[in-house]
């Protein structure tokens, strides 16, 4: 079976498939929303509590909505669209390890998510706190990057497992992370958002303020890495047993 040599063609194909779709424009606009909010806040004044405002924006908008939704669309489009329209058959009828296919999809979706969300967090952070709180901006940036990588890995795998990955992903983000995790603190250990926030707070150090979490920085990193690795393993395993049928 072929190995790493197929990664280039697979990445290239995935990039063209992803970037060629109209929904990538919507994802781009969604990702840039925090920058828009930051511009409004800066122009509108009220800069007395900028660092606290930044933390609130990050906690309640970026990590709750923007990062998971951007990752959801990218992750489910990367391979889910090919499964939906049947083009995945052209990949599955090749002597290519299924892990490479899943890896390429996660790599492209994850990189696009990092580029979009990372840029957005960095620009919005600098606009709001300028260079007054560099630790906070760096923490938010790394936290968002860690979260978007884990989310996209999970959503790529979800779309290999189910044709309703978008709904399942939304249910996870809105119900599990949005509602259940806020009521039952124990479930936070099963929340990618919490891993990202733990990383952000850990790196921000004393500048973390209200972002501070019970989960230590290293634990946030390790749990996000575990979720990403398990998602990859499950995705590759599922694709290796994937069945395709036409009617008739």
């Amino acid at each position: 079976m072929l190995g790493a040599s197929v990664l280039g063609p697979l990445v290239n194909l995935t990039m063209r498939g992803l970037l060629g779709r109209r929904r990538i424009l919507l994802v781009g606009l969604l990702a840039l929303a925090p920058v828009g909010v930051a511009v409004v806040l800066v122009v509108g004044g009220g800069l007395g509590t900028t660092a606290q405002l930044t933390r609130q924006l990050y906690d309640s908008l970026v990590m709750t909505t923007i990062v998971p939704l951007v990752a959801l669309v990218l992750g489910t489009t990367a391979i889910g669209a090919e499964i939906d329209d049947g083009t995945v058959v052209h990949l599955l009828t090749k002597p290519v390890g299924r892990g490479w296919i899943v890896f390429a999809k996660m790599l492209v979706a994850g990189t696009a998510g990092v580029a979009l969300c990372g840029t957005s967090v960095l620009v919005a952070g600098i606009l709001l706190v300028r260079l007054d709180a560099p630790g906070l901006v760096l923490g938010m940036l790394v936290g968002a990057v860690v979260a978007v990588i884990a989310y996209t890995a999970v959503f790529v795998t979800l779309s290999v497992w189910t044709g309703r990955a978008l709904i399942a992903g939304l249910a996870y983000v809105l119900l599990w992370e949005g509602i259940i995790s806020s009521f039952f603190s124990g479930t936070r250990l099963l929340s990618i958002r919490e891993y990202g926030l733990a990383v952000a707070a850990g790196i921000a150090g004393p500048e973390a303020g209200t972002l501070a979490r019970d989960v230590p920085l290293a634990t946030g990193f390790v749990l996000a890495a575990v979720v990403t690795s398990v998602a990859f393993w499950l995705g590759a395993r599922r694709l290796a047993r994937f069945e395709i049928s036409d009617a008739g």
């Binding site: 002597p95 069945e243 049928s245």
Partner: protein, 309 residues
Amino acid sequence: MSGTAPAPTVSVSAVAKWYGNVVAVNDVTFGLEPGVTGLLGPNGAGKSTLLHLVAGLLRPSAGSVTVDGRPTFGDPAVYRRVGLVPEREAIFPYLTAREFVRLSAQLQGLPFGSGAVDRALGTVELANAADRELATYSKGMRQRAKVAAALVHDPAVLVLDEPFNGMDPRQRLHMMALLRALADEGRVILFSSHILEEVERVAERVLVVVAGRLAASGDFREIRRLMTDRPHSFTLRTSDDRALAGRLVGRPTVSGLTFEDGRLDVRTADFATFTRELPVLARDAGVSIFELAPADESLESVFDYLVRR
């Protein structure tokens, strides 16, 4: 294909595929040898399911499918020997045909610049349109692009699901000639069709699938003879049904006769003799035949007959 490569062996043994309570394919056994084999059956008979089982895209619920002794499902390495042309038109619309075939070559591990891509595009007569996006292609052209992508690694086994769909008559003839040429090089070609004449023109062996079961298999001429020699029904409208019926009823070739609604229905067990005798009998009886129509010539009735045998 290299002349020294061993001939591929494709074996389907007691294979069944079911989805919940629905049985798509039931207890099917056959082997394939180099040459063209047509998989014939009405729509919904299980042809695609069977092809997908052979191509390793479906896991058999029972039985086994092997190529060169290796199970096809769950073993991507089998695609070094197998090429598949799926029926679904799904194709990456943003790629040109050349990029699509090149992608196939890259994923097969073919060395860059080996000429395989140009060769495959030339084989399906797409060289001149190869740099156009697939989104701009007609259905027939997309079909040929898929064939080129499936052929680029020179597979020993080529599986095609309804390959003539969407092709115009000239493209159809070209595809038939291509399949014959590929088979003459020692490949195993298996293709499905629900059109008898397509299979007749290109396949030397045939597998007839009806309702998920293998109804008949073997040499096409033998199957054709079975189809021709089965009991036939004809509907006649004549100047004097009763007079003609009087003549017909004494003939051993006629196995049944009915009058109904001003028409004469005749059943015969010997198609060839009956069609020779009928005009002679009508002339001798002074009866004019206004209409003679086969009552059961649909493919479904042919398939039903084969299943009941």
